[in-house]
Symmetry: D2
Amino acid sequence: MAHIATSRRKVEWGDCDPADIVFYPNYFRWFDAAAHNLFSSAGLDWADIFTRFGVIGLPLVDAGARFVTPSTYGDELIIESQVSQFHSKVLVLTHQIINGGKLAVEGTEKRVWAGRHPEDEKRLQALPIPGEIRDLLS
Amino acid sequence: MAHIATSRRKVEWGDCDPADIVFYPNYFRWFDAAAHNLFSSAGLDWADIFTRFGVIGLPLVDAGARFVTPSTYGDELIIESQVSQFHSKVLVLTHQIINGGKLAVEGTEKRVWAGRHPEDEKRLQALPIPGEIRDLLS
Amino acid sequence: MAHIATSRRKVEWGDCDPADIVFYPNYFRWFDAAAHNLFSSAGLDWADIFTRFGVIGLPLVDAGARFVTPSTYGDELIIESQVSQFHSKVLVLTHQIINGGKLAVEGTEKRVWAGRHPEDEKRLQALPIPGEIRDLLS
Amino acid sequence: MAHIATSRRKVEWGDCDPADIVFYPNYFRWFDAAAHNLFSSAGLDWADIFTRFGVIGLPLVDAGARFVTPSTYGDELIIESQVSQFHSKVLVLTHQIINGGKLAVEGTEKRVWAGRHPEDEKRLQALPIPGEIRDLLS
């Protein structure tokens, strides 16, 4: 049902550690890029969103990953991303990394729809996710 | 009760993104380094462990983080790491990142004590964690 | 005349620093990936080369970049790579990063064709570059 | 004669590639951090400089490194940094990475003292380096 975005990525030499497998923090780097790709594939440009809706980002409150099988240099990965849950001010993204037809890593990112706090511009304030955003990502 | 290791880290310019806060995958990079530091602070050298106990790494099965407050360029972070749970072949590490006396990020890493599979050296096999390792990290 | 390989890369959020431009070490990360791509585009698989020719890598002796204009989040970069000089045991790669039709960064990597030292396997020894490699990359 | 700043850094697991040595772009990441450290060790806070002198950064026009010997996981590196040349609007930083008492990498960064262009705030304009800055870094 949900809008699903697909990213592709080839594992590079510098993504791997001395054990010859992807150094795991890189998966979160790829999740972040896949989240941006998910938005832009729905016609929502990241920078544009900020201007139009008065938000200044989608900061993370939570991120996690389950590592099923390691990937290594040269592997061609497919990352399928979607919004798996909408809460009032929070959205949960799910990313599945597929390697050779099999699930290799599954990740989640819980992000807040956030603008500047009206009384303290250094702080963020969670805001209700606009219906238009929900519709485009559902 | 548990052996706790403390790492220190100053947030660098290149750790931060255009929102002027730490790009979140870097926290996992720091958790990994803090895990190594936890082992070495208990007298367990990472490379040495591999040779002595016939393991070839402590691959992750799961990692997660809860982001409480963002950190920014120049912040001095303290990372407190410990093994919070021992299972038979798995250990769970907890990392708390403290910024200015307050909890900024809390992370967990679930790692497997793993050697080469006897029949297929490309695969890993979970092994029981030796008592000596448990004792040193408890 | 030379064999030229083209790589494409979209600048990601996490590639940029608080000044909203690519954090410069990332360009070298991209040069390294482009070097691998140059070899594979000539039919030379990196891992395969090592096995066939008894080398264990193409370690760098020198790398440099000239930064002409900054690139920022979302920019679509084209990287054109070639071997610009062959010496007996050393090759010089040139990478040009094009952004919006204009040269943004120009980089060079000087790499050694290297095998293990016959008397000390921890050391490397520069070896003559095989004619076949020269031919494929010229 | 010059003011020299010393940074220390232990090579982490995630800094190394499948060849078991530091993935070379990381050296440039360390040069950048060492440049910041050089300024702050001279009493010049990076963010503070920008406000006080109307500059918005010290963007690089050129960076290079010569790799003498590889470093590997666990190595303790010392990085000695200084301004090796002052031009009217440009300064050249030199970084020497010492591993086990020996020079491992030598790097240079050519940086511009830059403010916003008066007619186009998206462009940068090189500005004369203030005498105070010269004095503190000499």
